[in-house]
Symmetry: C2
Subunit: 337 residues, 2 copies
Amino acid sequence: MTVSELGERALLARIRARLPKPPATVVVGVGDDAAVVSGPRNARTVLTTDALIEGVHFDRAFSTPADIGYKALAVNLSDLAAMGATPAWALLSLALPGGTAVEDVEALVDGLVGLASAQSVALIGGNLTSSPGPLVVDVTAVGTVHPRRVLLRNAGRPGDELYLSGTIGAGAAGLEMLKAGRPVGEQRINPAAETVAIGRYLRPEPRVKLGRALADARAARAAMDLSDGLADAVTQIAEASGCGVEIDAAALPIDEGARQWWNARNEDPIVRALAAGDDYELVVALPGRWRGRLRHARRKVADPPLTRIGVLTWTRHEYVVVREGRRERLPGGFEHW
Amino acid sequence: MTVSELGERALLARIRARLPKPPATVVVGVGDDAAVVSGPRNARTVLTTDALIEGVHFDRAFSTPADIGYKALAVNLSDLAAMGATPAWALLSLALPGGTAVEDVEALVDGLVGLASAQSVALIGGNLTSSPGPLVVDVTAVGTVHPRRVLLRNAGRPGDELYLSGTIGAGAAGLEMLKAGRPVGEQRINPAAETVAIGRYLRPEPRVKLGRALADARAARAAMDLSDGLADAVTQIAEASGCGVEIDAAALPIDEGARQWWNARNEDPIVRALAAGDDYELVVALPGRWRGRLRHARRKVADPPLTRIGVLTWTRHEYVVVREGRRERLPGGFEHW
């Protein structure tokens, strides 16, 4: 059997089954947004790695080298944000085709370093090698977290309310707009909304401050970032937490440009936005009685807004979206194969 | 200009020139075998990343999936060993062509986990993605080190003696033996020596215990691992330390199989072994008066042997090998483009 026949999630399960029991220094191992280890003197280090690969995650016709460098770091910082961690350091592993222009490599590094500096992250090392095929940009991001403030995927409880940061759908719709080309003629939506959506695809903003504020205020029980879509994220939180999940379709904060774009194509914005990848928002679960803590965190970080989108339920393995009174199964997330 | 026209080392210099001044938490940044950061409570974390790419670093005709997984971790542990660090954790980022067999992925993970377990390293996370081209295995290895025992590349001083662990040449010769095919007929060398050389290519042993023993005994001033060859390593130590270097050709511990292999092909074993990549030995610099400390470290870790191969000199930018009284410039190291 090949990996494309098996699928990404099943492959990950197979790999996890082969790993020995982790030692006591591993506070959070494989299976969350990032790993947490306990170093000397009880320091907590949070580590994550994520790669962008030409032809899979980006097309050089749409993304500039600087966009690629920016996003390679952004997707990693998003994982750290989902743990409530403070990012501090990054490693950059580049596999470059021999014909890559030197100025493109410099621009890629500039794009990455620009975001790194804005987030007080230092690029401390990495690796350079040649690639016989695509450009590969693999980043490892490392941060720190207070031992008792780690946001885990599996810490949700039935009855917890689910909150989502920002809006969804812009990343996927932005990519579709780029693929459709400019000018898109009759199908063109509001140009300002299009620019926003494309910008969110090219340069998603990792919710680092929000994640940290939620962790510091102990306002979130479970958290995850949306890299493979909202439906996937809430399903994974529910599954890891041993709960079901119920999403309120009417509450979903769908990006305005994405909504216009999909409406103009007779596609259902709710279905598309639920399954769309490339949104780097946070979804968090907390009991209703923690709303005061949530307000406290919001006083520190007011942007992006948080929207209550549903609840964790007592019915394990039931992952539904409620839409005009009908209960539908949540769509699956993005799989690489 | 393309990266292959510029070359790897010049590209790295261009990238380094674009990085802002690192913050105080960065004890060792870009340019050594690994990075060292200072975390909460003054804990020292050592981080390195290195990728193996199909068609560049391995050929699936020669390396089994388990060999590839083993080596992907081994080359990273070698970098940690060169810092005197104790490896503790690893992240694995895999880019897999859709047609990859699931059992090959499992075998790759098993190969990596086998070495990890032997070295008390836990695989704590990673990333899975598809690849439209080659199989990419990118590993980040993380360890800890005592703040005052970090082995740096730039800490050598003129007059320091250079010691090399184990032997050189086996990795490169082993790969040539594999490429020549089996049976190699007339050109076949001693079969046992061939097996050793091929084994050193496929499964190099990172010198973790030795690196730590040298650091603990404060027996090394500067250290580096040999991934791009001995000539490259001693040149880089000398350059970073503001010294010259003089290597004694007669002292070089060339692997017996590699020597036979190159002699049978009328190639000069000394020239080949100096420039050969794929040896994961350590080279360390220490003043003569530290020999007692070196003996102390050797009592803890007797294997592999250490050989005195030369000295750091007062003449900056002069990197020579002395051979039967003649002084020749050291060859360059392996460059990816």
